[in-house]
Assembly symmetry: none
């Protein structure tokens, strides 16, 4: 059982949702289970308007916040978790099964921190760029022959796992984790230094940047350390720039 404060810390983030019925269904499941913060990133405009104006559309849907990028939508969250149906993505991100350790891990984080739970578009799921903002991924245990769930049903199942009792035991705490906005500032400073030093080359820039974003997310930076990392990187950046002139 999550407390009202814990319920309030979860942000359900729908990225590139295309179907108004799915946006409405996500909002309904959130309301059923006591969550309230819905965020949509780059929705198909008409779908979002339709979902909002549908008969019975809730206050929750009316209060949904719209963002132009995943980075903005998760900026106030210490933990960003992507949902995926694909098994082999564990090569790039830690992957947890919803019914094994993922539920407990999220519940634990909600005790003290904002958590973003990302759902991709109905057709393609989350893109590699979307995934580069995630700390880890969660997979609903669907069967091999039919892995892809309906968006509204996937949201309902994930939220049920979070609210059901008895809570599973979460992993050990490691101190307060850094917020996504701070992690992104550190990532940007690192990328700037890598561009100036020639590690990131013109042209091949995007994929290398995505790799860098991922490797920084895998560090699980602590909130208490972010100032020091930013300070170190900015000093290096300053030197790289001043030598240039």
């Amino acid at each position: 059982m999550l407390s009202p404060a814990e319920l309030d810390r979860l942000r359900v983030v729908l990225v590139d949702a295309r179907n108004p019925l799915n946006i409405g269904a996500a909002a309904r499941a959130m309301s059923n289970f006591g969550f309230s913060r819905l965020r949509v990133v780059n929705p198909y405009e008409l779908a979002f308007r339709k979902a909002r104006s549908a008969v019975g559309a809730s206050d929750l849907l009316a209060a949904a916040e719209q963002y132009n990028s995943v980075a903005d939508a998760v900026a106030d969250c210490a933990s960003v978790i992507g949902t995926t149906a694909v098994r082999h993505r564990e090569l790039q991100h830690p992957l947890r099964r919803l019914d094994e350790d993922a539920g407990g891990a999220i519940r634990k984080q909600l005790q003290s921190e904002n958590v973003a739970l990302l759902f991709g578009s109905e057709k393609f799921g989350l893109s590699n760029e979307d995934l580069s903002h995630c700390h880890w991924l969660v997979r609903i245990p669907t069967r091999e022959q039919h892995i892809s769930m309906n968006l509204g049903q996937a949201v309902a199942v994930c939220l049920y796992e979070l609210i059901r009792t008895p809570p599973a035991k979460g992993p050990a705490v490691r101190g307060k984790p850094a917020r996504a906005g701070e992690v992104e500032r550190i990532t940007e400073a690192l990328i700037d230094a890598l561009c100036l030093s020639g590690y990131v080359k013109r042209g091949s820039g995007i994929s290398t940047k995505t790799k860098v974003r991922r490797v920084v997310r895998r560090l699980n930076l602590a909130a208490a350390d972010t100032d020091m990392w930013l300070g170190m990187l900015r000093q290096i950046l300053w030197k790289l720039r001043s030598e240039k002139q």
Copy 2:
């Protein structure tokens, strides 16, 4: 985890379903989680035809069996369980919460017997006549202010509860941790860059170096990522040094 024989013993029974999208959604969740036997009682004819003819409608939906009464639909089942959002029905039937004892009870029965899980119409749920065929009722733990779930989502959540495995004990996999020697090489490259850029100053050097060493240890670097970190730092170092001359 249910065995194929156990999955095959569950009959999902939709009574008086009115919306083809919900019938389709129920079938999709069944397929996602490995169930196959869908039965519909007295559906709105057009809805059932529409659901069957929808693009992507599955074999499962094509094989769905149609009945004129609940009695016929559950005739081959040893246990009949109704879903309800209403709390006070426990006056007439034993009522179990899905996340407390209901899931375990159904899994137990599926080991040896056919079980029917009944879902009522979108608007009214199961009628008293429908409920009179049930041995007990299951309630999804929705909140008091918004108890009624979407039909497709309710089916998905119930089936997820049946197939989920009890929480595993092991900690989350985060990949093999980096060896101390590799972490130290990364630390040295970082300290060199910080010396060249002026972050670490002559004289006050030792305590700052110690702080840097500690902050790197707190990252819990993964073995798979050490090469990339060393590569990035060495490129920055190379640039800082080459600019100097």
